[in-house]
């Protein structure tokens, strides 16, 4: 670190620029990751909060709970336990019965009030639904101005539904969730009474059972992958983040390459004087590590500050453990950039400075 620290101190502008570039690229990676995670979360938050591992649903629904319909006979054939819950899901328009607030495109989730999803609902405001025509809604409704006891008109159902509670992390397929009863789901979706649910979710895998012809079992990832646009969106972000990582590697490599080439004559003198190449290589490695850590720490702080300043409507989710892993990834990628300068240093021939 002896040479590394002194060089940085002497070449402040040069190293400030390098750190700034690293910080900006890392910041961009963090913001894109937060956006990717935020959007993915809006697709899957509710399912994740239910800790679902497998789902039994109509096999013709293309793994979409919103499209799935089960008859009572289908439902009865699916084994139940304390870790299963019967649900009905339907995309809906939620309108303010009094016309004061904007209409919200949402996902209605009908629950059996005695099963684990309904029992585990923890409203951050209000209470759980106890009767038909009572709903607990995602706190996203608050952003549209809705409050407790407001009345909603939901989907194809007649009559109104009273908001009795708000819950967090309740989004599915980008829409905020409206929790109600399975009976209300039938009304909201406008299905005939022979169709009683969309599917059965299970916190474990389903044990083998005699599937009715109309029923299939899928795992959680299949459900997510079949959500419209979910895979395309995630792949797009993954490519963008991957390209940024490659760009950051190239930029760091180019910077370090130019710096090392400029230093070659004095490095050759040091080699001639018997300064071990290991000492010079260690210094270059430590210097790279230092500027990467400072750059990434700056962008990490900037990302955290951004997360506090952004309005709630921006779908970003800053997951600290994930950002920490990504920081480590950026640092390791950047260290790869120090390999070329290290090779240059190890190949410097001290003879080049004799007889100049």
């Amino acid at each position: 670190m002896f040479l590394a620290l002194r060089e940085i101190k002497h070449e402040k502008i040069r190293y400030t620029l390098i750190v700034a570039v690293i910080a900006l690229i890392s910041y961009l990676i963090f913001i894109l990751s937060a956006l990717a995670l935020g959007l993915a979360n809006q697709n899957t938050a509710a399912i994740k909060s239910w800790q679902v591992q497998s789902i039994a649903l109509n096999k013709d629904a293309n793994a979409s709970l919103g499209q799935s319909l089960l008859t009572k006979a289908d439902l009865d054939a699916i084994p139940k336990s304390a870790k299963t819950a019967t649900i009905g899901i339907s995309p809906i328009s939620a309108k303010d019965s009094q016309g004061k607030h904007d209409t919200v495109s949402a996902q209605f989730v009908g629950l059996n009030q005695t099963e684990y999803v309904a029992r585990n609902l923890k409203p951050i405001q209000g209470r759980t639904a106890k009767n038909n025509h009572e709903v607990v809604v995602s706190d996203k409704f608050k952003d549209a101005g809705y409050q407790l006891n407001d009345k909603l008109s939901l989907g194809l159902a007649k009559g109104s539904y009273q908001i009795v509670g708000f819950v967090k992390n309740a989004t599915y397929n980008i829409g905020p969730v409206v929790y109600g009863s399975l009976k209300d789901w039938q009304a909201v979706k406008g299905v005939n009474p022979t169709l009683v649910a969309s599917g059965v979710i299970n916190q474990d895998s389903f044990k083998a059972f005699d599937h009715p012809k109309a029923v299939t079992v899928i795992d959680r990832q299949t459900l997510f992958d079949k959500l419209p646009g979910y895979q395309a969106q995630n792949l797009t972000f993954a490519f963008m983040i991957g390209f940024l990582a490659v760009i950051s590697l190239l930029i760091i490599t180019i910077f370090l390459y130019i710096l090392t080439v400029q230093k070659k004559p004095s490095l050759a003198v040091l080699r001639a004087q018997g300064i071990p190449s290991q000492f010079l290589i260690k210094n270059t490695f430590n210097q790279t590590l230092l500027i990467l850590v400072v750059g990434v720490a700056l962008s990490f702080s900037l990302a955290l500050l951004t997360s506090h300043l952004l309005p709630a409507a921006v779908p970003m989710y800053f997951d600290i453990p994930l950002l920490s892993i990504m920081s480590g990834g950026i640092i390791i990628t950047g260290l790869l950039g120090s390999l070329i300068p290290i090779v240059i240093i190890s190949r410097i021939d001290p003879i080049t400075v004799i007889g100049g």
């Binding site: 040479l3 101190k9 050759a268 001639a272 004087q273 018997g274 003879i351 400075v353 004799i354 100049g356």
Partner: protein, 224 residues
């Protein structure tokens, strides 16, 4: 006993019709307390001679001994160690690390050579003798050519080597500075009992030399 000894050393580059002989059957010794000048025209083999003396490259044939140790079978790392401990290099340019202050140039030696450097009192006396004391906080680009060369000499001496190898150390200096450097090398050789070998074009240094060798077309001959 000679601190440096070259016996029948030849160095050839290339092969066949394009082969060039840079050194031909060179025999050379240097002892502690001697200032030896190696002079000769450009392309005569002076630099090859110096790099072989300093263990920076191996001869094609013949034997090189530094402190009575034959170096032709030593590893790269062992040669680095010999250069660090036994030899102080003073070069024409890029002598000093540009981003280190004069003080840090010496501290760098401490970083890689933890022992046997000059004791504080001796080092302090050297700084006074070379007039470096007021320059300690300066960077190389704030020094004149003469000041930079004095610092380079002090740094080479700080590691307390027995041998000083200098390559054109007065190339960029005016006559007054050349005389200053000449006196300094003679002083180092005679007072500190080092073997100082200077490769140069500069005939102004001849006054201070105990021995002078001439290299022409790779052949070494003593002229003083």
């Amino acid at each position: 006993m000679s601190v440096l000894q070259l016996t029948d050393v030849s160095k050839r580059f290339g092969s066949g019709t394009s082969q060039v002989t840079a050194l031909k059957d060179v025999n050379f010794t240097a002892d502690n307390g001697e200032l030896v000048l190696i002079v000769g025209p450009s392309g005569s083999g002076k630099s090859t001679f110096l790099t072989i003396l300093g263990g920076l490259q191996q001869p094609t044939s013949g034997q090189v001994k530094i402190q009575n140790q034959a170096i032709h079978q030593l590893s790269k790392r062992a040669l680095e160690k010999i250069r660090l401990n036994e030899i102080g290099f003073v070069l024409q340019a890029y002598n000093l690390v540009p981003y280190l202050t004069v003080t840090d140039q010496f501290k760098l030696v401490d970083q890689v050579k933890k022992s046997a450097n000059l004791p504080t009192e001796t080092f302090q006396a050297l700084l006074n003798e070379l007039g470096i004391e007021p320059l300690l906080k300066k960077y190389p680009d704030e020094l004149s050519g003469g000041q930079a060369q004095r610092v380079a000499i002090a740094r080479a001496l700080y590691a307390n080597p027995n041998i000083i190898l200098a390559d054109e150390p007065t190339a960029a200096l005016d006559t007054a500075r050349v005389e200053e450097v000449g006196r300094m090398f003679a002083h180092i050789a005679h007072q500190q009992k080092k073997a100082v070998i200077v490769v140069t074009h500069d005939t102004r240094l001849e006054t201070y030399a105990d021995k002078i060798y001439n290299i022409t077309d790779g052949k070494l001959s003593q002229v003083k």
